[in-house]
Amino acid sequence: MIGSFIRFDLTSWLPRRQTLLLLGFVAVIGILLPVPGMAITGAAIVTSLMIATPFLGDERGRLDTLYGILPVSRSSVVVGRAGSIVVFALLASAIAFAVTVLMASVRGGSLDWGLLLVIQAVAVAFVGLSASIQLPVLFRIGYTRGRLISYAPALLIAGLAWLAQAIGVLDGAQEAATGVPLPLAVGLGLTLGAVGIVVGVLVAVPLYRKREL
């Protein structure tokens, strides 16, 4: 049933104009900004902001009630929604990567693949962090009451960076990060992303079970 729900969910919100515009925005970043990796970063930010979009559609179309009367468990709904967000993230990343490679060839520059992989890994970690924060809130209280949570991941990272700078550990952290071997950095980012999504799902399931639809 999870697979059926992912298909159902994607066909509900992926073809919408605003969702497609967001994907187009990722491509525009890659085309307009000459710094390789910006499109990948943009894809992560767009994915993070987009997590709330399907919940808006749920409220507008009374789909929360539909999910309640469909023969699907609430845990399948949560896992399915996380799955469809992962599909969107992969799509946005694929577009970002393709545009980055294409624009590098158009501009005649060379790509630092190691750096791109690290940026992609950090992007995955950011999406995972976003999912871990947003999914529980949006599944518990819905879009209208929970929409501001979309900005929480970016604010959290900005806040942590400010704090690190304020207490004087930011430079040290940056130096330490540059010394991390590439495979470890990529693996760490991907793992953090996966853990974030799993944590988001695990926290969201019991909260969604309690919600009145």
Partner: protein, 283 residues
């Protein structure tokens, strides 16, 4: 067959100033149960509880042998709510494709035939449908699932008589199978006249009446008069100026003298006066 397809025992849902309290009833296979009551009586809350859309504070609910909200049970329940549960931008024709993967018994041909029969335009978006067309879409969706139990929550409110008759006809066709059952919540009690086998009246979150629909004629009567209110035992007295009316049990008809008029009680009479008896104005 008289086995229960749906059983609620001691349901309690407390939400701020509103409560459903100690609601118990059963719906048997082969029967249509009319669920009536004034606004705020707890009809929709009861239906939402038995679908698993909310978690009750107390009580046991068993639907098709499963707990409320169980996917196994929901696969065999057709639900029609007061508005379609579909995204406004969906086209009617795509809804079967979207929902069929969830229902093992989904019948696409039946879905399309019902849309055509009920005059729901397939190429329109859900947002473009009238209220009546939206209800007909919900009914087509519910029946295409080949359910055993059909639950309707005020589907006929605001519909024209012809549309209400179409809904009644579809319910009658559904009930040809003796294994099927219907729980039909409505404000328009005349919709139940030729349809309901059982009647459940909720007032103030409690069961005010639970019995055979046909028995209401034998069980209740209306007594009307002017001047001093009756001294006999009545169920809900209503006064309008000098005139008064009251619901009584037919066993008490002899308590009222020739100065009163005694008529058969309609379901509306029963609901209005039971609500008055429980201190709640009827809608």
């Amino acid at each position: 067959m008289t086995d229960s397809i749906l059983r609620i025992d001691g349901l309690r849902v407390q939400r701020r100033s509103f409560a459903v309290d100690d609601v118990s009833f059963a719906v048997e296979r082969g029967t249509v149960t009319g669920l009536v009551g004034p606004n705020g009586a707890g009809k929709t809350t009861t239906i939402r509880a038995l679908l698993g859309l909310l978690t009750p504070d107390a009580g046991d609910i068993e639907v098709l042998g499963r707990p409320a909200g169980s996917p196994d049970a929901l696969a065999r329940i057709g639900v029609v709510l007061d508005q379609p549960t579909a995204a406004p931008e969906w086209r009617v024709a795509t809804i079967g494709r979207r929902l069929s993967p969830f229902y093992p018994a989904w019948d696409q041909q039946r879905f399309e035939a019902l849309l055509d029969r009920l005059g729901v335009p397939r190429e329109q978006r859900v947002s473009e449908l009238s209220r009546g067309q939206g209800v007909k879409l919900s009914l087509s969706t519910a029946l295409a699932q080949r359910p055993e139990l059909l639950i309707l929550d005020e589907p006929s409110s605001g519909l024209d008589p012809a549309s209400r008759r179409e809904i009644g006809d579809l319910i009658r066709e559904f009930m040809v199978d003796p294994e099927h059952a219907v729980l039909f919540s409505t404000h328009i009690t005349t919709d139940l006249d030729e349809l309901a086998d059982d009647l459940l009246v909720l007032v103030n979150g409690r069961v005010a009446y639970d019995g055979r629909f046909a028995d209401t004629v034998d069980e209740f009567a209306m007594v009307r008069g002017a001047g001093a209110p009756p001294t006999g035992e009545v169920l809900g007295l209503e006064r309008r100026g000098e005139q008064w009316s009251a619901l009584i049990r037919t066993t008490q008809m002899a308590d009222f003298g020739p100065e009163t008029v005694i008529d058969a009680a309609s379901v509306d009479d029963i609901v209005i006066h039971l609500a008055a008896a429980h201190g709640k104005a009827s809608a």
